[in-house]
């Protein structure tokens, strides 16, 4: 879930919870407030009555009677005075049920015992609570509506504001994370934001990428230097031998020896070439933004390799749809991959053998290329190590090769996310299955 959705959800739920809590506690709150108000009202009434009695005497109310009682028309309030024992003392407010003219009513009642002259009276002042309860329900309803409206309103404001606040984060993700490609060659500019957290995150990411880029550059530099250090002496030797071969008075024996040296040197050159190529691929030093038709690749390979097919009298059939186009690949590397496999198919083939190259589109848009030869095959126990560097499955002299061809194939395949499987039967032949994921197929 995205941060903004989480935040919005949390804010909404917490607001809703608060409102619900408020709406449910509203009756109690209102009850409490009303009671407080009633109590202080009753006390005021009591003071008033006491004042009148203090000024005019208790007879103002009693008018000669033993006791006095009076209530308003709708029985909302009442007052009563009656004599009590002299030692009776009370001064309290409580809620009580009173039956007045057959109506049972809830009253908030203040009772107070006081001396008037030498007699003690008990005063009761009461006020119904029914009127208070009547308001509760509509109040609750209105409060709910108003608060829900407010929630909606603040929610919209929150949404806009969080969206505004989180905009730098989205920008960081877009520009620094999702669209960046290893090894982060292009410089990235800091995001403009006043939020320090985002600024910190942004700077950390920029620093991190710069470090990766530097490390990568060092690796690249190392490969270039290693290449230089290794290739220069090989070059010197090669040119020395060439100059020597050009001497007119060389006898046959010396010439043959020189050819032998040249051959060994060439072998060294090839190994170094292959190792550097593998290291360059592994270090991500090739661009992967070209498109290429598979059919064209195999045609090019056929042209490049035809002399070897003719020599071994091998029939090569290319059964590839012309419409299969790879994209997001390095053309030279794909060529090299296929070339090495076809080259192996020839090298480990029999005289008058055959090679069949075919394609098969799979569900989901991926594509499998099969290269099937009628060669000597690979023993079961060697299949797992065949892509390992310097492991040569077939060590026979006539087969030749130095075991790096398939390592290059493996590196190129890994680099592009291509998977390679092989089936083989000794004496019958080998089949390589090269699966291109759908994202490489145009």
């Amino acid at each position: 879930m995205k941060l903004i959705s989480k935040l919005t959800l949390f804010v909404t739920l917490s607001k809703l919870a608060v409102v619900l809590l408020f709406v449910f506690t509203l009756p109690y709150l209102i009850g409490g407030i009303a009671r407080d108000y009633t109590d202080s009202y009753l006390r005021q009434q009591k003071e008033k009555v006491l004042d009148i009695i203090a000024q005019n005497g208790v007879d103002t109310y009693l008018q000669g009677d033993q006791s006095y009682g009076s209530y308003t028309m709708l029985k909302e309030e009442y007052i009563s005075l009656e004599p009590v024992e002299n030692n009776f003392n009370v001064d309290t407010i409580y809620t009580d049920e009173r039956i007045i003219e057959n109506d049972t009513l809830n009253y908030r009642v203040l009772t107070h015992a006081f001396l008037a002259g030498d007699k003690k009276y008990l005063m009761e002042v009461g006020k119904t609570t029914a009127t208070i309860d009547q308001y509760n329900r509509p109040l609750q309803k209105i409060a709910t509506y108003v608060l829900l409206g407010l929630i909606l309103f603040t929610l919209i404001i929150d949404l806009f504001y969080t969206r505004f606040l989180l905009r730098p984060l989205g920008k960081i993700i877009r520009t620094k994370i999702s669209n960046r490609k290893f090894p982060f060659n292009e410089n990235s500019r800091p995001i403009k934001t006043t939020t320090t957290d985002f600024r910190y995150l942004d700077m950390s990411l920029i620093n991190l990428m710069e470090q990766i880029h530097e490390a990568f550059e060092k690796e690249r530099e190392f490969t270039a230097n290693a290449s230089h250090e290794l290739m220069t002496p090989i070059g010197i030797l090669q040119n020395k031998i060439e100059n020597l071969m050009g001497e007119p008075e060389l006898d046959q024996m010396v010439q043959e020896r020189l050819i032998g040296m040249q051959r060994t040197l060439n072998r060294l050159k090839r190994i170094v070439h292959s190792l550097l190529l593998i290291s360059r691929i592994d270090n991500d030093q090739f661009s992967k933004n070209e498109s290429v038709g598979l059919y064209e690749i195999f045609l090019d390979i056929e042209e490049e390799i035809s002399h070897r097919l003719i020599e071994k009298e091998i029939t090569l059939s290319i059964d590839i749809s012309k419409s299969v186009t790879l994209s997001g690949v390095n053309r030279d590397l794909i060529f090299q991959l296929m070339y090495n496999l076809v080259n192996n198919a020839i090298r480990y083939n029999k005289q008058q053998g055959s090679i069949r190259i075919a394609d098969k589109m799979m569900d989901g848009g991926s594509c499998i290329i099969t290269i099937t030869d009628s060669g000597i095959g690979i023993p079961e126990e060697d299949i797992s190590t065949i892509f390992n560097r310097f492991k040569k499955a077939n060590k026979s002299e006539e087969a030749g090769g130095y075991g790096l061809g398939l390592s290059i194939v493996k590196s190129i395949a890994d680099y592009h996310g291509i998977s390679i499987e092989l089936r083989s039967e000794v004496g019958k032949g080998t089949e390589f299955l090269i699966s291109f994921p759908s994202k490489l197929i145009e």
Binding site: G235, I236, Q255, Q262, N266, Q285
Partner: protein
């Protein structure tokens, strides 16, 4: 033809110089960029062979500077760095060719010849070879105005042997020239022999080809005076 070789690896430079002198080039050497640019400013050269990995200045910068001093010369970049980017950059900056180290001196001469043909139009376009005439520009072999049909590779082989006439070329050298980095490891295989056999067969239908010699155990050569 005057050549300036800017290469800091002295042993290599001397080998290249020795080879070029034998091929009748006049060759000057500079072992660093500064010296090289100095010499370029003083003398006119037809070819500049430039190593990219010089100690005092980046090779591509040297190329830019040198191009200002002598824009008409042909530039060939020699490098062991092997970056594809370097190659593209070098050619973009106006280099005429690019040879990754280690390279064959024979290949170097072949490239230089191709450039002089293209750029200076100096070399004779038509070369006599026994009763045959090779037109390197049109890439055809003819005998008394009759064209002998050779494949692209067969013509390449013949012209390479002709360029290095009177010198034995091994099967390995020939196959490296024809197939480049795709030349196979098993040099004893007879692709070259097959091609040579085809060339002989096609040519001898028109006239004698005794100038194309087989040197047993070594390779082939064209004898020509």
């Amino acid at each position: 033809m005057k050549v300036l070789l800017i290469e800091d690896e002295k042993t290599l430079a001397y080998e290249i110089e020795a080879f070029l002198k034998k091929a009748f080039y006049i060759c000057d050497m500079a072992h660093n960029a500064q010296k090289g640019l100095e010499m370029l400013g003083m003398n006119p050269y037809d070819f500049i062979l430039l190593d990219l990995g010089l100690p005092d200045l980046d090779g591509l910068k040297v190329l830019q500077e040198a191009k200002k001093l002598n824009p008409d010369a042909a530039y060939i970049i020699l490098t062991a760095r092997g970056n594809i980017e370097d190659r593209i950059l070098g050619l973009d900056l106006g280099a005429d060719d690019y040879l990754p180290k280690p390279f064959s001196l024979l290949e170097l001469q072949s490239r230089m010849q191709a450039i002089s043909r293209r750029k200076f139009n100096l070399n004779t376009q038509e070369i006599n070879l026994g009763e045959f005439v090779l037109d390197l520009q049109k890439r055809v072999v003819s005998h008394n105005q009759n064209e002998v049909e050779l494949t692209r590779k067969e013509f390449d082989l013949l012209s390479y042997l002709l360029l290095h006439k009177n010198r034995v070329l091994t099967r390995m050298q020939l196959s490296e020239h024809i197939w480049g980095s795709f030349a196979d490891d098993d040099y004893d295989s007879n692709y070259i022999d097959v091609h040579i056999k085809n060339i002989r067969k096609k040519l001898s239908a028109f006239g004698p080809v005794e100038w194309l010699e087989t040197v047993r155990g070594v390779g082939y050569k064209i004898r020509k005076h």
